[in-house]
Point group: C2
Chain length 340, copies 2
Amino acid sequence: MAELTKIALDAMGGDNAPVEMVKGAVDAVSREKSIKVYVVGQEEVVRKELEKYTYDKDRIEIVGATEVIETAEPPVNAIRKKKDSSIVVGMKMVRSGEADAFVSAGSSGAILVGGQTIVGRIKGVERPPLAPLIPTEKGVSLLIDCGANVDARPSHLVQFAKMGSIYMEHVMGVKNPKVAIVNIGAEEEKGNALVKETFPLLKEAKGINFTGSIEAREIPHGQADVIVCEAFAGNIILKLFEGVGAVLISKVKEGMMSSLRSKIGALLVKPALKETLKGFDTSEYGGAPLLGLKGLVVKTHGSSKAREVSNSILQCLTFREQRINEKIQECIQADDSSDE
Amino acid sequence: MAELTKIALDAMGGDNAPVEMVKGAVDAVSREKSIKVYVVGQEEVVRKELEKYTYDKDRIEIVGATEVIETAEPPVNAIRKKKDSSIVVGMKMVRSGEADAFVSAGSSGAILVGGQTIVGRIKGVERPPLAPLIPTEKGVSLLIDCGANVDARPSHLVQFAKMGSIYMEHVMGVKNPKVAIVNIGAEEEKGNALVKETFPLLKEAKGINFTGSIEAREIPHGQADVIVCEAFAGNIILKLFEGVGAVLISKVKEGMMSSLRSKIGALLVKPALKETLKGFDTSEYGGAPLLGLKGLVVKTHGSSKAREVSNSILQCLTFREQRINEKIQECIQADDSSDE
């Protein structure tokens, strides 16, 4: 039997912890034989949740962590002070090799800080980007960075492009993924200072398929596989995607409920519509990896339910099987030696 | 009879020029008695279009301009060299007072450059922002700036907040409009360098109802009336709004057409749905004003059809009646004298 992929799961993070986290762990081990999940959190709380289910006892294990980091806590302080929190304990397991990956729906800030300070960066990686998949007309695109690297520098964006390409090619199976930089026009001379400086560097960068600028309007149409931007822009794109989607769907529902005639129509339309819109549901694609770390850290939505947690756990399997971190390391270090 | 509001319309700009521009002009004068439209463009072309309609000949006049500025032309050069283009001629009419406003669906870059160099800024205004209305769950919000002021400074954003408040209050009739700054979290300590510097200035600014940060997710829910950001972020927000909307609506249609059952349902749902989604159609709200100029310049979508052109023309009426520019001038100059 092949070695199990070991995932530490934060049982205490997110709006639906611990109920949906534990349920997600149980779901994941039942879907996939080659993983083991360490459920990290307050022992009694986790135990009580686990008692609700039957599961392979060899492949779910509780790891005690008495403290909980809240979403509103200043992240640097939280990571430093709460040594026995589920985030710190889970990340230490990744650093020591006890776990291959850590999955959390908890505080983004704490996960980003912990990723850098506890798990640590791969040598040569300047900033670890948070890279969620966003649904498009054609499938999914990787939006990189949506993390805490606001006011990033051009060299950071070039590394994001490279790490993102590796992820899309080897985890998502997209051949020669198209890389584009978010811009306010298609022409090279357009953009803010950061984009204007980064554009020529991306054009010259080896090993990526850079296709130029992408306007925000084109992103949902799936014109690029890897969408490069600094975190402030990335955060706007990610959140607005969710916001516009939610409002439009609610408008569609409201429209359908506005007359007797439309209500009858809605009953007939509903099943087909549900199926089509599923492709636009971000929870189907698991969480966002924090790339460039010595180990894998995955951030799932704060509002994650069991299905998304389970998908995020399974995503770690491909990441490890495809040796993504080794590939990132090779790519970044090849650059370092050719640059110097 | 009260004095007519005189609007110069660029007949040559936009994807649907001159056909939809001229049609929009005819529509506007038939909807509203107190306006006169100068249709600026190549005389023969415009004349031929106008011949299709019957209209009040006293209130539509052709103004000749032999040249056309293309969308792809570098704007500074275009404005400097093409002295007899519809944009330059129309803007000169505003500067000289022959027209109160200029409406164009042409090159954004050229309109922004022309606005600053030909029409000129109101004394004290550092940068004129382009401020479109975006549809929300509750109505509309003003997104300011979506123009060319990338890499703006904090003081620019404070002026945007003030000018935007005046517009929403006096043109759109929103009492004490809520002002928010686009940010990646709700807390004051979050954000990039620009937002962190601007936040305390907005808190102290007099005459605006500043409510703090707004995350992109909340924008479509209509949580603020005036949404302040620099142009790179604003452009992303505006374009993504359109992009996500277009893709989702096409997904909804696709879902409805996917089975016989759903097709029947779609027939029943369609009229109600159309009515509801109309509120989410940006063309209903006319164009985006370029605020802070000595005269009014309105940029409508490049893809504008007659209805949007007509709405953009009528919008100029309220702008003039409400003496928006005088109000902006008073507000900015009051600041100048209190600052110094």
